[in-house]
Structure formats: structure tokens, C-alpha cells
């Protein structure tokens, strides 16, 4: 075999030299070539779209949203969609030193030459990574500084429902579900390009579609107390309210059957089947439940078929179901039973989502998990029934104890419980209730399982608390957020309560850091004035803020101080019901009047039943799809 023959046929173009790849961590992050990745001939397509998840490859590849959009775009003959993720810090440094522009994985071409850069924004702590992506791509950080030759930077995902803190960095935000309106968007783009129209003219045209927010076309005025005085379009033809776009016919909505399979181990290394979108429950703290209303189920026969296709096309050894509240999927048992059947034939594991704990769920869990090793999970979120009613979390103590007892009878002995601290109206008694509840579960175990039958040892309970952050478009968007000191004190009260329980040795307590929560709280309900803070923090070196060991609160505090912005203004105030909120110009389907009603209900501890029980008139019915019937009253 001649060496030169080997060399010639086997060279593939890579953006990074061998020298660099051999000296960075997990170089497989940057080479593409994965199973099911799509390579097209750039001469055969008209639009190049770079889809970005602003975190490292392993995190980004675990996100199903990008797989859905990637699949959708690549099914269009005139579009090539490629992926791009945040380079890790080691490569980031090298790219800056050697002036290597950020590239997409499939073609290894610089993304600054693409038509679009789409960035999915799933959580607030990735904001500095957005700047890293733009910076490394050699795209001006501020939209106002970009020429028409730069890609159009478009943001989407849950954080796009309060895009104001990062609006200076984006040309446009897509509000809602990507499958709904992107084709029209692209057609208008092609038209404008063919007619030689400017970037601005294009943006005005798509703003008129109604679900695209173009920050440059709106102006904000502030009152003396820094609340918003007015928020208005500054150009004719631009809507005052931007309304989310959703998929109306979920049963016939496409779903990727050839998702890209990473080589390296990612956070989620399995096939994912989305079974429905939205949620009926209306827990008052939950933003996702509101943003994705109304709940729309996918067709169960279609899901069965697609589930098997995905497994065949990927070779994954595990499949999981994804939805906000899987127990509410009307065909859950049918689908799970089918998958358990099919998968056991082929040695494929099933990862069941959190289910309401009843006999069916326990049966199913028992079939797919090692009862000795896995835990039962409950998310009471609050320690007392009173508090659970305030947050409209329908889980009762009876549900939890009954469910636990049934599980213990079948051999489970590990229980995980999730709570939040800092919920509106929370009292000391509510917090101590966490310890009391854990102890009751422990007692249930000892009452249910006689000593001889404790084959796996005594019960082990793990209670985790996170800190409550009020989010836009929830009943709690007016609620004050606790201060850092208050959070820490509450964690202390929780711990003390747990330690003082009879069965304290059986209860482990995990709690989260408060600093990141505080910052998340600022961005969640922030306004335009935060753009300069984020820019400042980025220039100080803040990056990968979602990563505990990379997060540097001091730099952020310094950035806030230098830009003269007060964090507390965004977090600890209880906002008045008449205040113009930075996200009021967006319509997520749920109207503000209804959220106000829910806020007042919360204060009275009144429970609102779920959508299956009765329609509460949140406003989502105007989409006339999914669980909503009627004319949107």
C-alpha cells in the first residue's frame, strides 16, 4: 500500500489544524461527521442557516429542539442547516490568538458567511456565551453595528419571551414554535434578496408577520423610578403586540426520525420521543406550562412508529419520552406498554419520565428499572398543603404517602423529593414542613416494610431545594424574589427541620448555590438596560456562567456597579399590577388579566383546577387547538 495514496483519498477539510485538535480537550466536539449529520453541496442550496446552542457541544447535542429545527430546515431543498456550539475555553483562547473564525460543524465553514445564525436560548445563564459565539464568529456584538453582509442573528426558545436584556445583540427574535412560520420567513428572505432590498426592509416585512420581534423597530421610555413608561414601535407596519406562533395540528406535525448521533458521551445519550407540548396543570411558578399552552398531544400511533424508526436510524440503546407532564398524555399507558414490549425484545432501555406515582407507573417502572437502584421521584415543591395550594401544585400529602407506600411494597427504598424555597407567601411553617413531610415518608416505609423484608436496607430519602425565581408570563411575575441572605437562611431552616426529625438519619438534604439564582432572577425579569451589563461582564471574561466552577459573581457585581444598574430593582420588588412589564408587548397565548386573577387566587390559597377538569379562560383557547375548544372566552 502506497502511503501517498492513503494520504490523498482520505483528507477531509477541517477548520482546525491537526496541531490544534491534538491539543484541546475532546477534539471530537469540533469535527462533525456524526451519524445522521447532513452534508449538502453549498452550490445546490440558496440559504445557509447556522443553528446554535450557546453552550459546549455535549450540552447542546442533548437538546431536542435543535434536532427538530435541524431536521425541518434540512428537509427544505433550498436550505442547508448546520450546527455550531460554544468552543470550550481552551479552544476559545486558541481561536482568538490565531484569528480562527467560528465555524459550523458540517462544512467547517465560518458562520459569518451564512445567511442566518439562529441561537436557541434555553436559560438565562448562557447570555455571555451568546456573546462568545458572536465574538468568535467575528460578527459585531451589537446588531446596530452589523452590515448587511453579516448573517441575520435570530433568537428563539423560552428566554425569547423576555428578550429585552439581550435585545441589542439580536436582529430578530422568533416568538413561539419554530415549525410554524419559518417557511414563510425564508420565502420572504429570498424575495427580498432577489429584489435587492436592504436588511432593514426585510426585517420590517417579517415583523409584519406578527410573531417576529425586531428590537430595533421598538423604542422604550422609562419613568423616573426606572419602570417602563412606554414601549412602542417606531416604524409603520410593525405590530404593537407580537404574538407567539404555534403548531396548530400537532397530530400531523413532523418529528425527526434521524437525529444526529454524537460520538462522545453527551448529557442525554438516547433517543427522545416528544409526546406532547404544553401542560394542563397551571402550576403558578411554571413558565414552560404557560408558554407552551394549549396542551397538544402527538398521535400515539405515529409516536410508536417514529420511536422504532429513531432507534433503527440511530442505534441508541435507550429511549425516553419527553413532555412537561407525561402522566397527562391520554395514551401514555398504550405507548409505554408498546415500547416496553418492543424494547425488551431488543435489549433497549426505556427511561421513563417523571410520572404520577400510581399502580400503573410503579408497574412500568418495575419493568424498566432496577428497583434496587433507582429512586422514586416526587416534586411537591412546597412543604405544606397550604403552600402547595398557593402555587397550584395539585400534589397532596395523601398522594405522596400512598404512592410511597405502594412503591415500598414493591421493593423501592429510595425516594427523591424536589422543593423550592422563597415561594410567595412562604412562612417558616411551610419550610419546616419539608422536614416533616420527609419524615412522614420515612415512617411510612417503616410501617409498610417489616424488618425481614428490608432486603435493600432502610429507606433513603433525598430532599433537594432550589431557589424560587419569578418568571415572566406566570401568575408570580409580580412576586418579589427573596434576597440571597433570605435564601440562605431558609436553606438553614430546612436543614434544621430535617435534622430535628425522628428519622433524620434517613434523610439527605441538597441545596443549591444562591448567587447564580440571584443573577438568573435579574435576567428573567430584566429590561433593556441590562444589555450593557452583560456586555461589560463578558468583556471582563465572564463565560460559561451556567457552569458552577466557571461562574464568577464578583465580576458580575463589578459590571453592575460600573454600569450603574441596581440588581435589586429587578428582583426584590413586589411589582404593581399596573406596571408595564418589559415583556408585556408579547402575547404568549395566556392573557395578563388571567395571570392577575391567578396571582390573587394564589394570595388566597385558592386552587384552580386543570384544563381537563374545566376551562379557566386563560386565553389560549384563541388558538382553537389541542385541549381548548370553543371560541377563546
Amino acid at each position: 500500500m502506497l502511503l501517498k495514496d492513503l494520504n490523498k483519498e482520505n483528507e477531509t477539510k477541517l477548520a482546525l489544524s491537526d496541531d490544534i485538535l491534538m491539543n484541546v480537550e475532546k477534539c471530537a466536539r469540533y469535527i462533525g461527521n456524526e451519524i445522521n449529520s447532513v452534508v449538502k453541496n453549498k452550490n445546490d442550496i440558496e440559504i445557509r442557516f447556522a443553528m446554535c446552542f450557546p453552550d459546549v457541544y455535549e450540552i447542546g447535542m442533548s437538546h431536542i429542539g435543535i434536532q427538530i429545527l435541524y431536521d425541518m430546515f434540512n428537509k427544505y431543498d433550498d436550505v442547508w442547516c448546520e450546527r455550531v456550539y460554544s468552543p470550550w475555553t481552551d479552544l476559545d483562547l486558541i481561536m482568538r490568538e490565531r484569528n480562527i473564525p467560528l465555524f459550523a460543524l458540517e462544512s467547517q465553514d465560518p458562520i459569518k458567511d451564512f445567511d442566518f445564525l439562529g441561537i436557541t436560548i434555553q436559560y438565562e445563564m448562557c447570555y455571555t456565551n451568546i456573546l462568545q459565539i458572536l465574538d468568535l464568529a467575528q460578527i459585531p456584538l451589537l446588531a446596530a453595528d452589523r452590515g448587511d453582509d453579516m448573517p441575520i442573528v435570530i433568537g428563539g426558545g423560552p428566554c425569547a419571551y423576555n428578550p429585552e436584556p439581550i435585545c441589542d445583540f439580536f436582529d430578530v427574535f422568533y416568538i413561539g414554535e419554530g415549525e410554524a412560520v419559518y417557511r414563510d420567513f425564508l420565502d420572504i428572505y429570498k424575495e427580498c434578496k432577489a429584489n435587492g432590498e436592504s436588511r432593514r426592509e426585510f426585517l420590517i416585512k417579517i415583523a409584519a408577520l406578527g410573531c417576529f420581534y425586531v428590537p430595533s423597530l421598538y423604542d422604550v421610555e422609562y419613568n423616573d423610578d426606572n419602570t417602563i413608561k412606554s414601549f412602542k414601535p417606531n416604524t409603520a407596519g410593525v405590530p404593537e403586540v407580537v404574538t407567539k406562533a404555534i403548531v396548530k395540528d400537532m397530530k400531523n406535525c413532523d418529528y425527526p426520525v434521524k437525529p444526529v448521533v454524537p460520538f462522545i458521551k453527551c448529557t442525554q445519550d438516547r433517543a427522545v420521543l416528544e409526546i406532547q407540548r404544553g401542560c394542563i396543570r397551571g402550576c403558578r411558578f411554571c413558565q414552560a406550562g404557560e408558554l407552551y399552552r394549549p396542551v397538544r398531544e402527538r398521535d400515539v400511533e405515529d409516536m410508536k412508529k417514529k420511536g422504532l424508526e429513531i432507534l433503527k436510524n440511530t442505534g441508541h440503546e435507550e429511549i425516553s419520552l419527553s413532555s412537561l407532564s407525561s402522566s397527562d398524555y391520554s395514551h401514555l399507558e398504550e405507548l409505554v406498554d408498546y415500547l416496553i414490549d418492543e424494547c425488551s425484545k431488543n435489549f433497549i432501555n426505556i427511561s421513563l419520565p417523571s410520572l404520577r406515582i400510581d399502580n400503573y407507573a410503579l408497574d412500568a417502572f418495575g419493568k424498566v428499572q432496577d428497583v434496587k437502584k433507582s429512586s422514586l421521584t416526587f416534586a411537591p415543591e412546597a412543604g405544606t398543603q397550604r403552600m402547595r395550594n398557593v402555587i397550584n401544585k395539585g400534589l397532596t400529602e395523601e398522594d405522596i404517602l400512598n404512592g410511597s407506600r405502594m412503591a415500598f411494597e414493591r421493593g423501592w427504598n429510595k425516594v427523591k423529593l424536589y422543593f423550592m424555597l422563597g415561594l410567595p407567601g412562604e412562612t417558616r411553617e411551610d419550610i419546616e414542613g419539608i422536614g416533616v413531610l420527609c419524615d412522614k415518608i420515612a415512617r411510612e416505609f417503616f410501617d409498610t416494610v417489616p424488618k425481614e423484608e428490608r432486603k435493600n436496607g432502610p429507606v433513603q430519602i433525598t430532599a433537594s431545594t432550589s431557589f424560587f425565581i419569578p418568571k415572566p408570563f406566570t401568575a408570580f411575575q409580580w412576586a418579589p424574589m427573596n434576597k440571597r441572605d433570605e435564601f440562605l437562611e431558609k436553606a438553614y431552616i430546612t436543614r434544621t427541620s430535617i435534622i430535628s426529625q425522628l428519622n433524620q438519619k434517613r434523610i439527605k438534604y441538597n441545596w443549591h448555590e444562591a448567587d447564580v439564582s440571584e443573577l438568573e432572577g435579574v435576567f428573567a425579569r430584566g429590561d433593556r438596560r441590562l444589555n450593557k451589563v452583560i456586555l461589560n461582564a463578558y468583556h471582563k471574561g465572564c463565560i460559561y456562567d451556567a457552569w458552577g466552577d466557571m461562574f464568577d459573581m464578583d465580576k458580575w457585581l463589578c459590571a453592575f456597579k460600573e454600569e450603574n444598574v441596581d440588581m435589586d430593582f429587578y428582583t426584590i420588588r413586589e411589582r404593581s399590577l399596573d406596571e408595564i412589564l418589559p415583556w408585556d408587548f408579547l402575547d404568549c397565548g395566556v392573557n395578563k388579566e388571567w395571570l392577575k386573577k391567578e396571582w390573587l387566587n394564589a394570595k388566597e390559597g385558592k386552587v384552580t383546577p386543570n384544563c381537563k377538569v374545566q376551562c379557566n379562560g386563560c386565553g389560549a383557547a384563541k388558538y382553537k387547538t389541542g385541549i381548548c375548544t370553543g371560541d377563546g372566552k
Binding site: 500500500m1 502511503l3 501517498k4 482520505n10 477541517l14 491537526d18 471530537a28 442505534g315 432496577d370
Partner: protein, 229 residues
Amino acid sequence: MKVRIKFSKYSVMKYIGHLDIMRYFQKSMRRAGVDIAYSGGYSPHQIMSFAAPLGVGVESYGEYFDAEINSGHSNDIKNSLNEVMVKGIDILSVKLLPDNAQNAMASIAAALYYVSYKDDCNIKDYISEDDIVSLLKKESIFITKQTKKQEMEFDIRPHIYDIEIKDGFISLLVDASSAGNLKPLVVIRQLYENKNLEFNENQFKVIRIDMFTRIDEKLISLGDLGDEF
């Protein structure tokens, strides 16, 4: 049935590490619909074992793994696997081994490597036929090896089986057994240092050409064992 599968790994796939390659093949078996056997027990896994790990950055045209399959034929398995491969990995052969065959990892005795410069330099400009002859003439060649606890002197000469200089590259046949595995660049370093030439391992490209087992004192390619079926 025990089969031995030979594959190549080149181009961008050289950047994927051994553990990830193993997981890649587990998924590939499923995609291709190969009737592979699973172990028993609570968490069954595919019965598959790899001959030798290949370092990141090294290309190879002779990698092997053994697998236990329930049914199938050489060509069908080879074709169905090749249909689901990515660019940079090719299935070269699928052969049936006798039931008593030693597993791939235990049977490795030697490996053949080609070493050249990554860029356009010709290694022949630095190392001559005579340099190789004089290295091979030595009865022992000691290098210092850093183990966890201490530095040790280690004689590499008995682990070097053959060296040849070709146009543009050096061909090395070295010990690849688990006890005596010798990395090719260690030998190249010796050649350079013997001539007081500066040696920078980053400048070199290493390709593994094949792996061998020893039968009756002779080195036989792992791919020559077994038969098409």
C-alpha cells in the same frame, strides 16, 4: 458464532478515542441489524471485544474486534455494516473464527506502523538505511520509562522486530502485546537521537497498518485467521 471484524479508521475519525469507537460500534450493530448476542444478567450488553486501543490522532487500516453473533453471513454483515458507517471508517472483512480461537486482545503479538512527516518533509532526508542497520545491530537499547512510582530503565530492543526505510516513510514492526507494547515514535526518537538530531513527536504522522498474532513462531495477520462464511 465468534466473528472477527477488521476495520479501518482514518481521516477525521482518527480524532475519536477508543471508548467512543466502541460505543459507536455498539450503535452500528443495531443500525445494521446484525444479530449480535447479548450477555445475560441484569444489564445485558453486546458481546464484543476489541483487539487493541488506538491512540487519538493515529489512523489505522488494520483494527479488529471480535463479536459473538447468533446468525448471519460474512458478506451480508459486511455490507449492512458498511451501509451505516460514517466517512472514515470502513469494514474491511468479517470472518468466522473457530470456537476455540483466542480472543483478539490476548492474541496480539505485533503491529506494523508507517511513520512519516505530517508536512512535505521526507523522512529519508534524515534517516538512512545505515542508521537503521546500526540500530538493529545493537543488542540492547535502554530508555527511561516513567512509572507511577519511579523512573525505570527499559530495554526496547527485544520488542523491535523490523524496521525498513521506504520512500517518504519508515515501516516499523514492533511488539504490540499487552506486556510488551512498544509505541512506534519511541523507536523513531531513538533513530533521531542516535544522530544527535532534534526530535519533535508532533511533526510525525503514525499510521497503524495491521496487527499480528504469533502462531508457530510466525507472525500472522489477525485478519488472516478464520474464514468467510
